[in-house]
């Protein structure tokens, strides 16, 4: 006879249990409204006009013909637009002046915003934008990126430009095995499915913006600084966001809409076209990387040198921190990394999913595969032999480093033990088959956040936090975290996000969102439970407490905090057509405590899908003559679609951050890291030819052919 266990009064253990998205029903029925879909009375529509030259000055904007068209209300440009403040330091540093539209006559790149046409309807605005006559004094432009440029210079970004210990040249001379290769990655675009959109309305001296962004506090504070307002006079609401990946911060559309709304005294919406998204919202810079590895015959590293170059615009200095993985994954007596930029007449690059780590891991983890080949050692064994005790550059202890466990579990599930290391020996009809692996790492961090938590009179709870759910499942994750912290069931918790009025919070970025917000929610819940224990009845307005994690996060001990992972891929290569097909992928991650296995798996697989896209498809190409993109659209810029993506499995090993109240690390970006390298290594295993330039296009496969097959 069995007795049913006594259920606790409140459900526990929501964290770690699969939960469908709390807003899922709204998303599958079309009820969820995104930024351009909130109705406004008296709405006017703005259409941006972008420069057709890559460098020069605007000589004249002749708006007469456009203004004479039916429905046209205004044309804003540098000659008549309100002035903005641009010399401030924002939440994430000095702003990229690209968003500060219409402040001067300089054109620093093709696709620079030069005017906004506002009309009663989108059709009228678009027609008028097409007819607007903008004349330029054109100047010669330079968009030729390469590592060999003499004007490249090192830049300290979020990480130092150069780290250095030991003697690289002496180490190489003394090494039994040396790898010295260059790798390149192209310009890549976020391409979130929802184009950027904002609607602005002024009410007295207050600005309200309905937006699509990765942080309403962030956008609120930037707009307040630009328009010289107290932050409390700006409210930014961003409830549902159709993807971001680093591109959805302050951009031309919010600023142009706010300007036009102030000039016209009515709400104005500005939605970017897909083509404009390619010019105005940032991108991942192309990179050139040179890696030199020196090892003893047993594969133990004596030298690791990773140098990286990227391009940036003439108006903003952005560093793609591609040396990041080398500073975390492997140690060597001589260890040197550097990150340099080249300023060109191009738009400003920005963070794009796993900035630095995505391109950096392609180079480093390809080079490691080359070292394994040269040493005649299994690529996993090579990595295990080079596991560092402490941070290779910092010397700090790791807050959990379960990379080896990821490789062991991954190897078991992928069937790695049966792998014949020789390249080019497996065939399936016209296909050559190969498998590859690579390591992944991505930094873990937390940003100070506040949360408000209310115990409602009806026994439910409401969380208010200016978090952003850009598809990460943050709303659902915070529901589970709050439920556990309160000792209640998730059904009794309501989480509201995406409103700067909820108080300051960190962004959905740097894989830091869920960790940062969960921290604030957990602190608020602790305080609320204390308050509830003391008070009797809950008044009709409920009991609300507020948390602020600034101090707690500031007191965090300095450690090497990272998520890790092991990527595995199997590819089939048709050497007659040059086509590469990924047949299966497996990723095993050590990424802290997993809050919601259902959505976490989706996010990790999403990152790995980006890896396929990066390895094989994505490449934005600029025309040297015009300085502008060829085919800046979703036909010209191919992102992986259904037919490109096989069955992908993502799973994790037990892991935690001992210093995080929930044990969370972060999963938003680690899924793409190493994925392209695993695929490139599999292409080598299939064909015997190394592909060091992404994407591995059919023409490159055809030109490369096969070796030793």
């Amino acid at each position: 006879m069995t007795t049913a266990p006594t259920r606790p009064a409140a459900a526990q253990g929501s964290v770690g249990t699969a939960h469908t998205r709390v807003e899922g029903r709204d998303k599958v029925t079309g009820a969820a409204r995104y930024a351009a879909e909130i109705p406004f009375t008296g709405l006017a529509h703005g259409w941006l006009v972008l420069s057709t030259v890559a460098r020069g000055r605007i000589r004249a904007v002749d708006a007469d013909a456009a203004l004479a068209l039916p429905g046209v209300l205004a044309v804003l440009h540098h000659g008549n637009a309100p002035r903005l403040v641009t010399d401030y330091v924002g939440m994430l540093g000095v702003p990229d002046p690209t968003a500060a539209v219409f402040q001067h006559d300089r054109v620093p790149h093709a696709g620079w915003p030069v005017a906004l046409v506002v009309a009663e309807t989108p059709e009228q605005a678009r027609e008028a934008a097409d007819t607007l006559a903008v004349r330029y004094d054109e100047e010669p432009h330079d968009i030729a990126f390469s590592a060999a440029r003499p004007d490249a210079y090192p830049v300290d970004g979020y990480t130092p430009a150069v780290t250095e210990k030991g003697d690289v040249e002496a180490g190489l001379a003394a090494s039994a095995v040396v790898v010295d290769e260059e790798y390149t990655t192209p310009e890549e675009h976020h391409s979130a499915m929802e184009p950027h959109a904002a609607t602005a309305r002024w009410d007295g001296g207050r600005l309200e913006v309905v937006d699509s962004n990765q942080g309403s506090t962030w956008v609120q504070s930037e707009l307040a600084a630009m328009f010289a307002l107290d932050p409390s006079a700006v409210r930014v609401v961003s409830e549902h966001v159709g993807g971001g990946f680093g591109s959805k911060g302050v951009r031309a559309q919010q600023v142009a809409a706010a300007m036009a709304a102030s000039v016209l005294g009515r709400p104005v919406r500005v939605v970017l076209t897909r083509r404009q998204v390619f010019s105005l919202t940032g991108y991942r810079s192309p990179t050139a990387q040179r890696i030199r590895l020196g090892a003893d015959a047993g594969g133990r590293l004596r030298v690791l040198e990773h140098r990286s170059w990227n391009q940036t615009s003439t108006v903003y200095e952005f560093v793609e921190s591609s040396a990041g993985p080398a500073r975390v994954l492997y140690d060597a007596e001589a260890h040197r990394t550097s990150q340099e930029v080249v300023r060109l007449d191009v738009p400003s690059p920005t963070w794009m999913r796993a900035p630095g780590e995505a391109p950096g891991s392609f180079a480093l983890e390809s080079a490691f595969d080359e070292l394994a080949e040269k040493c005649g050692i299994d690529p996993i064994e090579l990595r295990l032999r080079n596991e560092p005790e402490t941070g290779p550059v910092s010397g700090l202890p790791f807050a959990g480093r379960n990379l080896a466990a990821c490789f062991r579990e991954g190897a078991r599930r992928f069937g790695w033990a049966e792998r014949d290391p020789r390249p080019g020996v497996r065939r399936d009809g016209r296909w050559l088959l190969g498998t590859g692996t690579a390591a992944a790492s991505f930094p873990v961090g937390a940003g100070a956040s506040t949360a408000a938590l209310t115990a409602e009179a009806d026994g439910t709870f409401t969380v208010r936090i200016a978090a952003a759910d850009i598809g990460t499942g943050a709303r659902t994750a915070l529901t589970l975290v709050a439920a556990d912290a309160l000792g209640t069931a998730p059904e009794r918790v309501r989480v509201r996000v995406g409103d700067s009025a909820f108080g300051s919070a960190w962004i959905a970025g740097g894989s830091m969102g869920t960790r940062s917000w969960s921290w604030a929610v957990t602190e608020a819940a602790r305080e609320l439970r204390e308050r509830l224990a003391l008070s009797g009845e809950i008044p009709p307005e409920g009991i609300t407490v507020r948390s602020d994690t600034t101090e707690a996060i500031g007191a965090l001990a300095r450690k090497e905090r990272h998520s890790f992972g092991a990527q595995f891929a199997e590819v089939a290569v048709d050497v007659a057509t040059g086509e590469v097909r990924v047949r299966r992928m497996l990723g095993i991650f050590a990424a802290g405590r997993i809050v919601n296995p259902l959505t976490a798996r989706s996010q990790l697989i999403g990152g790995m899908t980006w890896g396929i896209s990066m390895a094989l498809h994505e490449e934005a190409v600029r025309d040297r003559v015009t300085g502008a993109h060829y085919g800046a659209d979703l036909a010209g810029y191919h992102v992986a679609t259904h037919a490109d993506v096989p069955r992908i499995e993502a799973d994790w090993v037990d892991d935690t951050d001992p210093d995080d109240p929930v044990g969370i690390k972060g999963i938003g970006e680690v899924g793409i890291v190493g994925a392209a390298a695993a695929i490139a290594n599999a292409v080598w295993h299939a064909t015997g030819v190394r592909h060091r330039a992404l994407p591995i296009r059919p023409d490159r496969v055809l030109t490369g052919g096969t070796a030793g097959v």
């Binding site: 079309g30 993807g243 897909r274 259904h642």
Partner: protein
Amino acid sequence: MGPAPAPTHSAITLQVNGEKYTLSVDHRTTLLDALRERLDLTGTKKGCDQGQCGACTVLLDGRRAVSCLQLAVAAEGREITTIEGLADGERLHPVQQAFLDLDGYQCGYCTPGQICSAVAVIEEHAAGWPSAATDDVRPEAGVPELTAEEIRERMSGNLCRCGAYVSIVQAVARAAGAEEAAV
């Protein structure tokens, strides 16, 4: 006196999700913009406005179409079904339910288009239409098995930048009752 300017607007009647809407539209208005901007049916999404992403997919007389490449004036007389018209009251369409249960989405922006496409894919397949992934396209070969490869091929007009393809394929298979074939 020259000829009178050609009219730029027309009054049309659109039949959407079983309801009739009469409105005057600019001739340049796409069906997508008419749905979103005029009828407040914002479930249909605009990802590219040029026929490249599938976010705006609706059913026109039961067959899928990208509504950004349709002029509203040309959609008169067609029976238009959008994402808002799929559920039966509170009861979700099986494709919607499968997307919800299997997490066939992340940001949700491509989702209405994916779901509308999937509804049509399941019908196209059941009607015996072959795809580029079909091995035997002779009519006597009958309805091909709805494998994962078939689903991927047929769904490839719908981009998902979040990379939810793996679970979308599972959701389509489940809704079609083809989960075993689609592993």
